[in-house]
Symmetry: C2
Subunit: 195 residues, 2 copies
Amino acid sequence: MKKSLFSLRLPHWLAAYESHSGSHFPDILQRMRFVIELSRRSIDEEGGPFAAAIFRIDDGALLASGVNLVIAGRCSLLHAEIVALMRAQLKAGSHDLSAAGLPPCELVTSTEPCAMCLGAIAWSGVRGLVCGARGEDAESIGFDEGEKPPRWQESLERRGISVRENVLREEAADVLWEYRAGGGRIYNPERCAHR
Amino acid sequence: MKKSLFSLRLPHWLAAYESHSGSHFPDILQRMRFVIELSRRSIDEEGGPFAAAIFRIDDGALLASGVNLVIAGRCSLLHAEIVALMRAQLKAGSHDLSAAGLPPCELVTSTEPCAMCLGAIAWSGVRGLVCGARGEDAESIGFDEGEKPPRWQESLERRGISVRENVLREEAADVLWEYRAGGGRIYNPERCAHR
């Protein structure tokens, strides 16, 4: 493995936000608040209005967080969920966050994942998915969620990934509305307004 | 943007394979043969049996190729299609391969994309998708394709992405069988055998 394919840089403020916010988030509301505040901070830093993080399920230790870096990273794949999963797997040293010896973990996301991210979650090894705003909230400001399987929640549950929706939905959706009100960029609205 | 998130390295043999194979592939069979041979080479190099490449539609110029790097890169997201898309966007300097000034391009893949990759294709800006082996061929050797929308082909077509299937399907599927016969690793078969 010689030639570098891709070197993605994180915004300098993200590590500072993580250290400042603490390392453990025992209950689900604390975890979601961390993620919602991160999505708001991303807007302040001129990024997309989406954030996600991976936590240990048992003690709420923060493993990795992510924000939408599509524009900054010039790569359509860099949704917040993807960035958080890449960082968590890098830290774990495994392509499988359910590998032997690793503590069960969950992905907490400020907005329900798009079709691509749902697929990525199934392959990642996370044991749980927790969503704030709904897909329709993102669509209401012009983003495209892609075509998801009709009952994606059941599909993930069948794979051993628990799904919890509408956790602090209003607070999470408020960030989307703030983004829209502030004139935030909705990528490629003329073709398919993806996140 | 200061801290490095992710630095993915390409196998050293991939650039050599690309230079050796030529830079233009005028017809679709030539493009698919390039990709199928790349998937076979990936097996020889102890990688996954999947390959993909992005070509300009008009003259068949090769923009970027990719192989499955899930195990080598320790990241479940690094399917061949994702690696090829990341490289092509990096080269184009844009998150949108349909951005003004860029020539229309297509993704040619040795096996029909999984659910995650179908989502990624919708966001990438490619104008066409060409598939060799079918999803059921990958499933027949134990890989999991994930849950795709019932009529994903129509869904992509509605987004302006043409879909062509079964191009050299038998030759492409032969590589999957060779991989299986050679004892190739099917990731996490106990949970969900993902690609």
